[in-house]
C-alpha cells in the first residue's frame, strides 16, 4: 500500500528558504548597472494638466531620463480591458482603462505623471522634487451616490453621469411575491473602502539584453504569463523573447492580479530604450494610491419572508465604486450580486447595480472580491427578518439552506466566469450544526451571556454562513517529469504568493507517483519554464492548476507503466509504482527505480521504436466546465468594552467546506490569514477621502491593520463535500476566511447590545464609529 500524501498535514517545502531569508523576492534582484525609477504622482485628485516642466530634473547629476506621456510616443496606450463584461441581457458597459502616465487629465490622487530614471533611487526621488506640474484644479467625484446625478462633475468627460456599467439580473419575479409576503424589511447598507496592504509592495525589475535580444522581467504579479504575452505584443517582440518571472511574493490578495499597471508597462519599455536593467520598487505611500483598492458599495436592499421565515425573495439595488478606471471589468460587482444569494434557496431575486467612476484609486478584486458585500447584505437581512419573526439566527438560516439533494442548484443568473451560477455541490446543514456545537451556542445564550451581563460585561455571539464561488476557468497546465536522480520536477504556470503551492502541488504528484513530497521540486511563475496559463486568482490555484498537476502525474505514471512493462516483460496491469520504484506487484526483486527508468527512457545511442517520446515527462491541462462552490460557517463570541467600545474576540470558529482537503495545515493557514484580513476589514481598516478626493490616511500610522493581539487563534473543523467538477474533488479556500467577517461582527455586536435595539448596517466599524451608532439611539444608561 502506497504512502498517502494527499490530505496530510505535511510541512511546507518552501518554508526553510522563506524562514532563513533565502527566497528570492523581486527586490532581491540586483543586477550590475541597474537604473532606478521614481514617479512624480499627482497631489490632485482631479484636474487638467496645463504644463509639465522637467528641465531642472533632467539637469540633476545622475539622472538618465525623464519621461512624460508625450515622451512615450506610440507606446502611450490605455491598458487592456482585462475582463470583458459578461453576456448579460441589456448590460451597459462604458470601457475606460488606465493610462501609463497621465496625459491631459488627472483622474485620481497619486496618478503617475512623470517617470524619472536615475543611477540611484535617491537621485530619482530628488529629481522628482525638481519637477513642476501645473494642474488646473477640478471638482472631484467622491460620493458614489452623488456621482450619478446631473450636477456631478465628470471623471471622464465623455462618460455621462460617470456610469461605468449598469447591470440587472433577475430570477423569478420579486414584484409578484412582494405583496404576498408576511414581512418585508428594507434597509440601506454601506460597505466602505480598504486596501489589501500586502507586506510586500509591488515591484518590477526589467533587463533588456541587447546581445541576446531578450527581455527578462521580475514582477510581483499573480499572472506572469499574461504579462509576458502583453509585454511582447506592446514591445513588438515575440513571446519567446520575453521571460517574466514572478518570484516569491509577500502577499498577492488580488491587487496583484490587476495587470498592466503603469509601472509594469513602463519599466520593461525603458529598460529596452536604455539597454540597461531598470528597477522600481513601490514604497508604502505609493502603495496606498497606485495599487488598486476595493470595497466601496451602497446597497438598498429588501427581503420578503413568509411567516415561517422562508425567504420569498430579495430585491437589491446597489452602487459600486469603480474608482477612476475600470480595467478589471465587472468582476467585483458581479461577485457581490451573485454571492448575495449565499447558501439559501431564494426563489425570487431582483438585483440591479450601477458601477460609477470616481476620482479615487482604481478598484479591482481584493480577497473576497465583492463577495463580502453580498454576504453582508444577505446575512444582515436574515438577521433583521429573524428578529422580526422571533427566530434565532440559527433557525432562519437552517430554514433557508438549499437542501443537500437539490444540487446541482441553479441560481438562474450569470456569474463572473460568464457561466450560469450553478452550485455544483454543497451540504450546508452539517457545517452549521458543527459550528453551533463548537461555539456552544445554546449554552452561551442561556447561561454565559446572562451571567456575564449581570457582571456588567457586554458579550455577544454571532453565526453566519456564506458561499464562495471558486476554481473558475479557463484553464491551467502543469508539466511533470522524473529526473535520472529519481527526483520529480513539477512546473506550473501560475504564480505563488505564499499559498504553499510548493507543497500542496507536490502532494498531489506524490500521491500519484508515490515519491516523498520533498523530492518533488516545484517551479511556479516562470514563463520560461511554463508558458501557458491565466494566473492565480479567484481561489483557483488548487482546483485548476492542482487538477492539471494530477493529470500530468497520471500521464507520467502511464509512461512508467508502459516502459517498465517492456523492460520487465510484464503486463502493465501487473505493475505497481511504489516507494520510488516500479515493480511487478508483490515481487520486490523486479524493482526498477524511477530514476533508472528515466535514464532508460532517454537513450543516447541505438534506435527507438517510431513514435517514442523521450523521458518520463508529461504536460497536461485542466479546464473546468465552470467554477465550484465552497461554503462555510463562521461563529464568534465578542466582548465589547462599554467605555471604549473596543471589541475583543473571545472565540472564533470556522467550519469550512472546500471539498477534499489537500493539506489541512495549509488550509488552516489560509483560513487564519483570511479571517485576519476580514477582521481588519470589519473593524480596523478604512480609507478616508475628503470631498476633494484626497486620501486622508495613507500611512500605517492612520490606516489601522489588525495586529496579532487583535486576531485570535481560529478554531474550527472541515466538512468535505467533494466537487464533481474536478478529478481531485477540491474547491478553493483562499478567500473564505475574509468573506463573512463583517456580517459576523455586525451580528455579534448587535447581540451584545440586544437590549439597545441596535442595528449595524455598515462596515467597516471602529470603536469610534460603534460609539456613534450606539449613542445615536441610546442614552448613556442604556449602554
Amino acid at each position: 500500500m502506497a504512502t498517502r500524501y494527499f490530505g496530510q498535514r505535511i510541512r511546507r517545502n518552501e518554508d526553510p528558504r522563506l524562514l532563513t531569508g533565502q527566497a528570492l523576492f523581486t527586490d532581491d534582484v540586483n543586477l550590475p548597472n541597474t537604473l532606478h525609477v521614481a514617479f512624480y504622482r499627482s497631489d490632485y485628485a482631479h484636474g487638467k494638466i496645463l504644463s509639465i516642466d522637467t528641465e531642472e530634473a533632467k539637469k540633476r547629476p545622475g539622472v538618465i531620463g525623464v519621461y512624460t506621456a508625450e515622451d512615450l510616443g506610440d507606446y502611450w496606450q490605455r491598458g487592456p480591458l482585462l475582463v470583458p463584461p459578461p453576456p448579460i441581457k441589456d448590460i451597459v458597459f462604458n470601457e475606460r482603462t488606465q493610462v501609463p502616465l497621465a496625459k491631459d487629465k488627472i483622474c485620481h490622487a497619486g496618478e503617475a505623471v512623470v517617470m524619472v530614471v536615475a543611477e540611484s533611487r535617491y537621485i530619482a526621488e530628488d529629481a522628482v522634487e525638481d519637477i513642476e506640474v501645473d494642474i488646473d484644479f477640478l471638482d472631484a467625484v467622491v460620493d458614489i451616490e452623488k456621482a450619478m446625478t446631473d450636477e456631478s462633475p465628470l471623471v471622464h468627460d465623455d462618460i455621462e453621469k460617470n456610469i461605468a456599467a449598469h447591470v440587472v439580473q433577475e430570477k423569478g419575479s420579486y414584484s409578484s411575491i412582494r405583496d404576498k409576503a408576511h414581512t418585508v424589511i428594507s434597509r440601506k447598507f454601506i460597505y466602505d473602502r480598504g486596501t489589501a496592504a500586502a507586506m510586500e509592495n509591488r515591484g518590477v525589475v526589467a533587463n533588456w539584453d541587447e546581445r541576446n535580444q531578450q527581455l527578462t522581467v521580475w514582477d510581483t504579479t499573480q499572472a506572469p504569463i499574461p504579462i509576458r504575452n502583453g509585454l511582447a505584443a506592446m514591445l513588438g517582440l515575440s513571446q519567446s523573447q520575453v521571460r517574466v518571472i514572478a518570484p516569491f511574493i509577500g502577499g498577492g490578495f488580488g491587487p496583484k492580479i490587476m495587470m498592466f499597471y503603469p509601472e509594469e508597462v513602463l519599466i520593461p519599455w525603458v529598460s529596452k530604450q536604455l539597454k540597461r536593467p531598470v528597477k522600481w520598487i513601490e514604497d508604502r505611500e505609493e502603495n496606498f494610491f497606485s495599487t488598486t483598492h476595493e470595497r466601496g458599495q451602497v446597497h438598498e436592499a429588501e427581503i420578503a419572508v413568509a411567516e415561517d421565515g422562508k425567504i420569498l425573495g430579495i430585491h437589491d439595488v446597489f452602487v459600486h465604486d469603480a474608482g477612476a478606471y475600470a480595467p478589471y471589468g465587472l468582476t467585483v460587482p458581479i461577485n457581490s450580486q451573485c454571492t448575495l444569494l449565499g447558501c439559501y434557496d431564494v426563489p425570487n431575486y431582483y438585483s440591479e447595480f450601477t458601477a460609477v467612476f470616481t476620482n479615487k484609486p482604481i478598484v479591482t478584486p481584493y480577497r473576497g472580491a465583492g463577495r463580502q458585500h453580498g454576504v453582508f447584505v444577505m446575512e444582515r437581512l436574515l438577521d433583521l427578518a429573524a428578529q422580526k419573526l422571533g427566530m434565532t439566527p440559527v433557525e432562519i438560516r437552517r430554514k433557508n439552506f438549499i437542501p443537500q439533494d437539490a444540487f446541482p442548484y441553479d441560481n438562474e443568473i450569470i456569474y463572473q466566469d460568464f457561466s450560469p451560477l450553478v452550485y455544483d455541490s454543497g451540504n450546508y446543514e452539517p457545517a452549521l450544526k458543527r459550528a453551533v456545537e463548537l461555539i456552544e451556542y445554546d449554552k452561551f445564550i442561556k447561561e454565559e451571556q446572562p451571567r456575564l451581563l449581570q457582571e456588567g460585561k457586554r458579550v455577544g455571539i454571532g453565526i453566519v454562513s456564506y458561499v464562495e464561488g471558486t476554481g473558475i476557468g479557463p484553464y491551467e497546465g502543469a508539466k511533470v517529469s522524473i529526473d535520472p536522480s529519481g527526483k520529480v520536477s513539477l512546473v506550473t504556470g501560475i504564480g505563488t504568493q505564499g499559498q504553499g503551492h510548493f507543497t500542496s502541488f507536490a502532494q498531489i504528484v506524490s500521491e500519484v507517483l508515490d515519491v516523498p513530497v520533498e523530492d518533488v521540486r516545484v517551479v511556479t511563475g516562470d514563463t520560461l519554464e511554463f508558458g501557458w496559463g491565466a494566473g492565480t486568482f479567484a481561489s483557483r490555484g488548487a482546483v485548476v492548476a492542482g487538477s492539471a498537476c494530477h493529470e500530468a502525474a497520471l500521464a507520467v505514471k502511464k509512461k512508467i507503466h508502459k516502459l517498465a512493462s517492456e523492460i520487465l516483460e510484464a503486463s502493465e496491469d501487473d505493475l505497481e509504482v511504489s516507494g520510488g520504484n516500479v515493480q511487478v506487484k508483490g515481487v520486490p526483486d523486479t524493482a526498477i527505480s524511477l530514476g533508472e527508468l528515466a535514464a532508460k527512457a532517454n537513450p543516447l545511442r541505438g534506435a527507438v521504436k517510431p513514435g517514442t517520446e523521450p523521458g518520463l515527462e508529461a504536460t497536461s491541462y485542466f479546464g473546468p466546465s465552470r467554477g465550484t462552490t465552497a461554503s462555510g460557517v463562521h461563529a464568534m463570541i465578542v466582548s465589547v468594552d462599554p467605555e471604549t467600545f473596543l471589541v475583543n474576540i473571545e472565540r472564533y470558529i470556522v467550519v469550512h467546506d472546500c471539498g477534499r482537503v489537500i493539506n489541512p495545515m495549509i488550509l488552516d493557514g489560509q483560513i487564519q490569514g483570511g479571517v485576519a484580513q476580514g477582521i481588519g476589514n470589519a473593524f480596523y481598516e478604512q480609507l478616508f477621502f475628503d470631498e476633494n478626493g484626497q486620501l486622508l490616511n495613507a500611512s500605517f500610522m492612520d490606516y489601522l491593520l489588525p495586529t496579532s493581539l487583535d486576531v485570535p487563534k481560529i478554531e474550527g473543523d472541515h466538512i468535505e463535500t467533494p466537487s464533481p467538477l474536478n478529478p481531485l474533488g477540491v474547491k478553493g479556500a483562499g478567500e473564505a476566511g475574509a468573506i463573512p467577517v463583517g456580517a459576523l461582527y455586525a451580528q455579534a455586536i448587535e447581540n451584545a447590545f440586544h437590549d439597545c435595539n441596535l442595528e449595524i448596517l455598515e462596515i467597516p466599524l471602529s470603536p469610534n464609529r460603534l460609539y456613534e451608532i450606539i449613542s445615536q439611539n441610546k442614552t448613556k444608561e442604556q449602554i
Binding site: 497631489d43 490632485y44 490622487a109 505611500e285 476633494n692 484626497q694 486620501l695 486622508l696 490616511n697 500610522m701
Partner: protein, 202 residues
C-alpha cells in the same frame, strides 16, 4: 480644512490694516516664512517651511488680496505648492473697531489641502493650522505694539523655529488631551521635540 477665529489687536483699525499689508512684518510673524515679496499691488509671493507631524517641506505660495474695503475687510486667495503637497483656498478677513485702540479681527478660511500634507499629515493638520494662525497673530500683535510704542515693555522678537515648534507641541497637546495630568508629560515631550529641532536648525 476650515480655520475660523477671532483675535484682538492692540491698535487702531488703520494700524492693523497697514500691518496686515506689510510683507516685512508678515515674514517675521509667519512661522517658517523665509521670503515674502509684494510682486504687484495686492499680490504677494512667499516661501515657507512647513512642518505638520511627519510631513515637512518648503512651500511657495501666491497670495492675492481682493474685495478690499479699507480698513474693514478683504479676501485672501492662497495658492501654495510644495514638494509635500498643496494648500489652496480663500480666507475672509474683517476688522472691527472694538475701542479706539483695540481692533477685533475675524477670520474664516476654507482651505483645500492635498498631497502628503493631507494623506500623511491630516491627523495633525487642524491643530497645526490653528496653532500657526494663533502664533502668527500673536507675533503680529507684538510687532504692532512695538511699532506703536517702541519703548513699550513688550519687546518684539520674531518667533524662532524652536519657539514655533514648542507652540505647536503645546497646541497639539491642548487639543488632544484635556486632562491636566498629561500636561506635565507633554510639556516635557514638547521641550524634547524643541531641543531636537533646535539641534538640527542651529
Amino acid at each position: 480644512m476650515k480655520l475660523e477665529g477671532e483675535f484682538t489687536f492692540k491698535g487702531s483699525r488703520e494700524e492693523v490694516w497697514d500691518l496686515l499689508q506689510d510683507p516685512d512684518v508678515l515674514i517675521t510673524a509667519l512661522p517658517g516664512a523665509k521670503k515674502m515679496e509684494k510682486t504687484e499691488e495686492d499680490k504677494y509671493e512667499a516661501e515657507m517651511e512647513v512642518k505638520v507631524g511627519p510631513v515637512s517641506g518648503s512651500f511657495s505660495s501666491k497670495i492675492q488680496l481682493s474685495d478690499k474695503v479699507e480698513p474693514e475687510s478683504y479676501t485672501m486667495v492662497v495658492n501654495g505648492k510644495g514638494k509635500s503637497g498643496f494648500v489652496k483656498g480663500k480666507a475672509q478677513i474683517s476688522l472691527e473697531e472694538k475701542t479706539e485702540s483695540e481692533t477685533l479681527m475675524k477670520y474664516a478660511a476654507d482651505l483645500q489641502v492635498g498631497g502628503k500634507l493631507a494623506s500623511v499629515g491630516q491627523r495633525l493638520l487642524d491643530t497645526v493650522g490653528k496653532s500657526m494662525a494663533r502664533q502668527s497673530l500673536e507675533s503680529m500683535n507684538a510687532a504692532l505694539e512695538h511699532q506703536i510704542d517702541p519703548r513699550a515693555k513688550t519687546e518684539y522678537i520674531p518667533p524662532s523655529q524652536v519657539k514655533f515648534a514648542v507652540g505647536v507641541a503645546k497646541d497639539v497637546a491642548e487639543d488632544s488631551v484635556k486632562n491636566p495630568m498629561f500636561w506635565g508629560i507633554l510639556g516635557v515631550v514638547g521641550v524634547g521635540i524643541a531641543a531636537v529641532i533646535w539641534y538640527f536648525v542651529k
